[in-house]
């Protein structure tokens, strides 16, 4: 390590005519721990430099010592606004590697959870764009329904934010009656709150003027920058992992991919808003499909994979095999077959990829997370160049930058 002479004036800082502004690392407008060093001429941004890494937690290194089921907790902490998508993506990666086929009911349960997570992710983003444009109220309208979704998570897995939901092969338990009841309530009541938020913002003159034309990026540049998810779709490219490489039986659902045209803050807002409606429709379809299962099929909530799925507790106390599996799983003594696999899911922010290499040991030899946020945040410097400082703040929130996902 070099010596700690951190306070030194940069070259030429006395005579220069622009102002340097540190936006972050802990600025209320950044909604997360990351820093922008802005070079300002008046209120106009001449140059921006983004610094990330303030909450880097070395997940990829830690994962190299953990058994597969313990890595789920690491994925929670990537994009913590939609943890269940990360969890399911990780389970899907492991299942792809091991060749596990999950029952349809498990897939549909996962779709419900993932779409709920997408809604919470998007509702935070869209309402925060409103907050950053000066409209706080709409945020509160939808926020109480995120609370309801978190209660549904609680019913499913016992946790709210860092969910550690599901297991390799399915879920740890079936959805409770209370979970279904709350889901029904959410489906019935949420559209009203969402409409209220939209009524506040969509045709609001102030909001329109603040978002229209600011923070724009062309489709070509967005693709070159590796944009995925709503931010890419706002530029007019209809790439969605759910459609291009369906996982978890997404091919069974009817839904549309909303796209924008200009790739500016307003289009990003509208695309996310529309995706919320699509997600609601997907949840309703999945719920109907699940209700149509009859008999024993209607109780299935995991695949039969004894090597990776913890046996029921009463079996552990009474059956030898179950005891052995329980011990092997908990102690992380299951050997993983050698493999090299890439699995992507459509996260809240775009293509969330898991690149897993196993050499036959008990933990991954290498695990890499393709975090959409980290990849598209590098375009921020280009996007805000020449714009006003206040627009840069809205751009930041409409890109939905989640520090946990950027820093892994």
């Amino acid at each position: 390590m070099s010596d700690h002479n951190h306070i030194k004036l940069p070259e030429g800082s006395i005579g220069k005519t622009t102002t340097t502004l540190n936006l972050g690392p802990t600025h209320p407008a950044t909604h997360g721990v990351f820093q922008n060093i802005l070079e300002l001429d008046g209120e106009r941004i001449v140059k921006a430099e983004a610094t990330v890494g303030y909450i880097h937690r070395a997940f990829e290194k830690i994962a190299e010592r953990r058994p597969l089921y313990q890595i789920t907790t690491l994925t929670d902490r990537l994009n913590y606004c939609s943890s269940p998508i990360n969890n399911m993506g990780w389970h899907l990666t492991v299942e792809k590697m091991l060749g596990i086929k999950t029952p349809k009911r498990v897939d549909y349960l996962r779709v419900i959870v993932m779409e709920l997570a997408r809604i919470t992710d998007h509702l935070i983003c869209t309402s925060i764009v409103g907050v950053d444009a000066g409209a706080f109220t709409g945020f509160l309208y939808v926020m109480q329904y995120r609370e309801l979704v978190y209660e549904i998570y609680e019913e499913i897995c016992g946790a709210r934010l860092t969910t550690n939901m599901g297991r390799v092969g399915g879920f740890e338990r079936n959805f409770s009656a209370a979970a279904w009841e709350k889901l029904e309530r959410f489906l019935k009541e949420y559209p009203k709150a969402q409409k209220e938020l939209e009524a506040l913002l969509v045709r609001n003159r102030i909001f329109y003027e603040r978002t229209r034309g600011t923070g724009a990026i062309s489709a070509e540049r967005a693709l070159n920058y590796g944009f995925t998810g709503p931010n890419l779709r706002a530029t007019g490219v209809d790439y969605d992992v759910r459609v291009h490489e369906p996982y978890s039986s997404y091919e069974d659902f009817e839904f549309q991919i909303p796209v924008g045209t200009t790739g500016d803050n307003h289009d990003r807002f509208i695309v996310r808003t529309e995706e919320i409606w699509q997600s609601l429709s997907i949840i309703e379809q999945a719920y109907r499909k699940i209700q149509s299962f009859k008999g024993a099929e209607a109780e299935v909530y995991h695949a039969d994979v004894p090597e990776y799925y913890l046996p029921a507790k009463e079996d552990v106390y009474t059956k030898m095999e179950a005891l052995i599996w329980h011990f092997k799983i908990v102690m992380g003594e299951t050997d993983i077959p050698p493999a090299e696999v890439y699995q992507a899911v459509e996260g809240g922010n775009g293509e969330l990829g898991y690149y897993l290499i196993s050499d036959g040991g008990r933990s991954p030899y290498r695990l890499h997370f393709r975090r959409p946020c980290f990849i598209y945040y590098q375009a921020y410097e280009e996007i805000v160049k020449g714009s006003m400082l206040s627009d840069a703040v809205i751009t930041m929130s409409s890109l939905n930058l989640i520090a946990g996902e950027m820093d892994a």
């Binding site: 890494g53 792809k96 540049r221 070159n224 920058y225 493999a339 690149y355 393709r370 990849i375």
Partner: protein, 168 residues
């Protein structure tokens, strides 16, 4: 005719011949390795040819294999043709003693931070990168933590003063 792994492989072998090795298809994704001095030629070819058009860089990372003498570091590119919806994986091996690999930033702006991250954790020196410095770790760090010679802390160690960490 839809683009398939076979077409990509035959187009590439036709153009590059023996430069490309290690053809595999793990879980359906065409995977191959290029000599590191040719990585840009291969990437450019995959990008420019209209029938291949791998113009989306999904992911760029590295893997460390300390036991493979002379090719300890493996840089992995995941490329995607969004129109034909086909993914391929390109690997480039470099010795840890001289880990120079040409940068892909000229082709993909997305490679900028991905290469910085790869440099940060594995020390791969991307030749020609406009701003090759650490991105997630502190600037003062003088080692590359994801390399295998840096093991995680022994969880059973007892020589540490746990009271300092609130676990006493």
């Amino acid at each position: 005719m839809p683009l398939t792994n076979e077409i990509v492989q035959s187009r590439l072998t036709e153009k590059f011949g023996d430069i490309l090795t290690g053809w595999e298809e793990p879980y359906g994704m065409l995977t191959f390795a290029a000599a590191r001095e040719h990585n840009l030629k291969v990437l450019n070819f995959l990008y420019d040819e209209d029938d291949l058009a791998f113009r989306f860089l999904t992911d760029l990372t590295a893997v460390h294999y300390p036991d493979r003498a002379g090719e300890e570091l493996c840089v992995v590119y995941h490329l995607h043709n969004l129109v034909a919806n086909l993914r391929i994986r390109l690997k480039v091996y470099a010795p840890v003693s001289q880990p120079d690999v040409y940068t892909a930033t000229g082709l993909f702006s997305a490679a900028n931070w991905m290469e910085r991250e790869t440099y940060d954790f594995y020390g791969v020196n991307f030749v020609g990168h406009p701003n090759l410095k650490r991105v997630l770790n502190v600037d003062e760090m003088d080692y590359f933590p994801m390399r295998k010679e840096f093991p995680l802390e022994d969880q059973t160690r007892i020589d540490k003063d746990d009271e300092m960490f609130g676990r006493g």
